[in-house]
Symmetry: C2
């Protein structure tokens, strides 16, 4: 070892000990008689002291050390004159007796500080330097802590981690696959897994009872800020259970993580039906850190001469507590905001419940104060509140109002990053109609079981069938989702047929699973949690990229290693491929 | 939950409790008055009892249950009349009150028993059924236990698990890459990692100090019985260390695993230099569960008129203790054995040291008993022993004699599967000359550091330079290997040049690493252990395939899911590819 201790552990108890430390020069201060160097490693920072009077030569050498130089020092631990309470080693310093330069450093292209001067692009190119900065280091250490705790918890309740294969089979259902040409089997391809879904179900058929895996998954989709072509999933499956058992088990896991890593007791997680979530919050992942549920006003607001409301399928609003103080300018701004194409509302109606008990709205021409009072009553508004109302087609306007609700949450500072409000959204629809392809798609995936008591609707009105499917939502972010699976071959075949698979396609794609169901498949279900997103949530951020050691940019490139890149003609030939760029 | 207990936990303490169990019908026995069913799940087997007299209807239904049917039962725990000491639940049975058929099963294509009647091919196709069998289940549970213990141990000594990317860059050095076409970057490809080597070194440059990862790696090589295109590695790296620290740390991990999982104390691991391993055992991974080191005889055996020895570069043999009883037939058989093309010796000389003190050899024509006595002395042979001697070119004959030594170990039952003899082989050569390409190849990989005191030979005699490289060998199996890395840009550049890289190639392939070395790279080194092989060794087997849930066959195919497979024209077009099968 090139050290006896690390840079984060020496304290007053070590005084007078001879120690060796190794690390990076974080900064140096030359005070004439003394030169101080902050030596950094993963564990912390320790101050090194060089005395110009007693050790002039050593001190002169030390002054030549630049930022990020790597050195090894031997010296004696001494109590500092002026202590630094901010760091664990702040009581002591090392009176250096000798040091050795292990490696020099060019001046980094940006400062290795908590707040750096480097832009996104240069930091991605020099990711190995960016990873030296405390914020990123803390993120990766948090990730490590969380993955270890996830495994400990699941291991402790008899889950078995089983590694499923990465070179699997391309299937057309779902997102686009990344494929891998097979050299040994000319003209054929493996696919990288979008999830180990079918394999974990097979493991249930095999009797493994409780499976988990922290596993990389791959989707060749166009990228957004919070999406990566490769991402990590906490993938789980259980047998001989019902939905309630899954919810309890993974509520347990989530609570354990919050308690262990953040010291937060979450209490029991509320549950909300999908239909209620859409009706009350316009979202299948409502942020319930704050209220403002939707209130429908059709019966009160229609047929009063305001044609926009009269013609709308739905008139719906919410009450923003204490927001009557919003100025005309604020409200005009909000109206502009909801009109943006991303939100897509045509306009917004507001009603201010003034502190003096009077009501003032943007539609006073059509509604009397008595009318508005009825609205206020239904919305449980009281003096000082602001009511915001949108109208239009049901689905579209709920979505728009949902966005407005989140925006008001932001403006009223109701979305506190240190508050965590978990929620189970349950009873998702089994199918959703896709206008483009004019067929039903699986809302979760084709292996999700219909609610047994709605099975009869599969023939007559499949869109109305709900599923034993559930999402775990925290603070408006979907952390994971899962379902109770179909375990009967006939139901699975019927499902494939509803999704537009021919018998032949179903057999060639998923024949192995349907065969497996013929040999004693147990009732089973599971869940997958997005690990990148979970870590980001624990870190208090929306950006998963800061929690991944070597992420890709929005073009799917790793600019540090310059990948993807062209490969040689010889490689292509061996793989029986030709590149032919489409125009 | 569809059960109150699992099938492995009920015992005499539970008598008279009402319980619910779920599982698979392992077998049923109909004894007229009583029907017994063995119900199986992951945790064990519990006997169910149905009484024809008291519950005729239930009993008749139970008799219809076939093997591998999935059922749920409710009943009362009762003491068995005839106990089964072989299983944990053998003291009790369940007097079934009601049962529910959860799923039926076709007759499996092979029996779900420890010894099955299914051939390899059918068991691979129905892997989900094969995985139900106890031996495979135990293998996967062992794997889970080992991976958990590996993580616990490394986590406990401050190693951080960091996930490195799977979509990386193709490099020509090493084995063949699997590649992944990039849709978003037409004409370019990612590669799947053969190991996270460069990323873990970058993490050291980033200051992460101690990294580990249980990680899938990929190699597109022609497959053999113990090779898979995707395999799992325990990948580790440490900073500010020397070779001794790595050996100590991973000796610690290995000892921990043997103690924790097998209850075996390994003691401290011997070390052997590569040159000695080759000289004494003809192998860089000697099996030291038994002795029989090589003894060189050139000075004693040459110039006595036996032209085969006279013309040989090396005359070398070993003494097989107590094997003088081998018959002429045995010895002829051994001679045939060493002449097989896989071994490649031209012939074999034997000398029997008979119990009566006389010596009898296959070359009595050329050597007197006094000559042979000198051989025996050098080989420390005593009456009752057998000496076996080969001759030829140094490298080839050492290898052949190494194989013969292992074969004799087998025949003399010296390679006991329940004995574990770990060994560090150290000081590997840095380079090996490749006749085909007429250039040096890196023996470990291009990032391995030369021994500092042999650095000067790099220019004059590179083949003589040793490396700070080491392998962990257990019972003659290479479990892992690693090295202290180059951390100086100039040395790395020199190494690339020795390996035949042009400056341009080195820069385009590994420029990011060489750049990283300019910004304060710490001294570092690491190791990677083959996890599949480690698990197989713990399981007492040579075949890694039995320790992988869903392995591929020797053609790289998963016959269960029928992969790899063709993909659609539309997919190919999106990827800017055409398949053109080479003739």
């Amino acid at each position: 070892m090139l050290r006896t201790h690390n840079c984060g552990e020496l304290n007053i108890k070590h005084i007078n000990q001879e120690v060796a430390l190794s690390g990076w020069v974080q900064r140096s201060r030359d005070l004439g008689g003394m030169t101080f160097i902050d030596l950094r490693d993963r564990y912390g920072i320790t101050q090194l002291a060089f005395n110009m009077e007693t050790q002039p030569e050593l001190c002169l050498q030390a002054r030549k050390l630049g930022r990020e130089y790597v050195i090894q020092v031997h010296g004696k631990v001494a109590e500092r004159e002026s202590k630094n309470l901010k760091i664990a080693t702040g009581d002591i310093e090392i009176i250096v007796g000798e040091f050795k330069l292990l490696n020099a450093s060019k001046t980094p292209p940006f400062t290795i500080e908590n707040e750096t001067d480097g832009g996104e692009e240069i930091r991605m190119k020099y990711r190995y330097l960016d990873l030296r900065r405390n914020p990123l280091k803390e993120n990766l250490l948090l990730r490590n802590k969380l993955s270890f705790e996830v495994r400990s918890y699941l291991h402790g309740i008899d889950f078995v981690e089983v590694e499923t294969p990465y070179l699997i089979k391309s299937t057309p259902e779902g997102a686009r696959d990344f494929v891998v040409p097979s050299r040994m089997n000319p003209g054929t391809f493996y696919a990288l897994p979008q999830s180990p879904q079918t394999f974990k179900q097979l493991l249930m058929v095999s009797g493994y009872d409780r499976y988990y895996q922290l596993v990389k998954c791959f989707r060749d989709e166009d990228l957004r800020a919070d999406r990566q072509p490769e991402f990590t999933q906490i993938d789980c499956e259980m047998s001989f259970i019902e939905q309630e058992d899954i919810l309890t088990t993974f509520e347990g896991l989530t609570s354990h993580l919050f308690l262990k890593v953040k010291g937060i007791e979450l209490g029991s997680f509320p549950r909300m039906q999908y239909d209620d979530a859409m009706r009350l919050y316009g979202s299948d992942k409502p942020d319930i850190r704050f209220g403002m549920p939707f209130v429908e006003l059709n019966d009160l607001a229609q047929n009063k001469g305001f044609s926009i409301f009269d013609e709308a399928e739905l008139v719906v609003g919410f009450c923003a507590k204490g927001a009557a103080s919003f100025t005309r300018k604020d409200l005009d701004g909000l109206t502009e905001w909801v009109r943006r194409p991303q939100i897509g509302a045509k306009g917004m109606v507001y009603v201010k419940y003034n502190e003096d008990g009077s009501l003032k709205s943007s539609v006073d021409k059509f509604y009397s104060e008595a009318d508005l009072k009825l609205w206020a009553e239904r919305m449980e508004a009281t003096p000082g509140d602001l009511m915001l109302i949108l109208s239009g087609g049901v689905d579209k306007i709920r979505k728009a109002l949902g966005e407005l609700r989140l925006e008001m949450g932001n403006r009223l500072n109701l979305r506190n990053r240190s508050t965590y409000a978990p929620l189970w959204v349950v009873d998702f629809p089994l199918l959703e109609w896709d206008e483009d392809s004019q067929r039903y798609h699986a809302m979760h995936h084709p292996f999700t079981s219909p609610k047994p008591n709605e099975m009869h609707l599969l023939d007559t009105d499949p869109g109305k069938v709900h599923a034993n499917a559930y999402d775990l939502v925290i603070n408006g972010v979907e952390i994971g989702g899962g379902s109770i699976r179909i375990f009967d071959k006939d139901v699975q075949a019927r499902m494939f047929s509803l999704l537009g698979f021919s018998d032949e396609d179903a057999k060639s794609q998923f024949g192995f699973l349907m065969n497996a169901f013929e040999y004693g498949a147990p009732p089973h279900g599971g869940i997958a949690l997005g690990f990148d997103r979970l870590v980001a949530m624990f870190g208090g951020s929306d950006s998963i990229r800061d929690y991944i050691a070597f992420p890709k940019n929005n073009s799917g490139q790793d600019v540090m290693i310059a990948s993807p890149s062209i490969i040689s003609e010889a490689q292509l030939k061996e793989l029986n491929l030709e590149v032919k760029i489409q125009n």
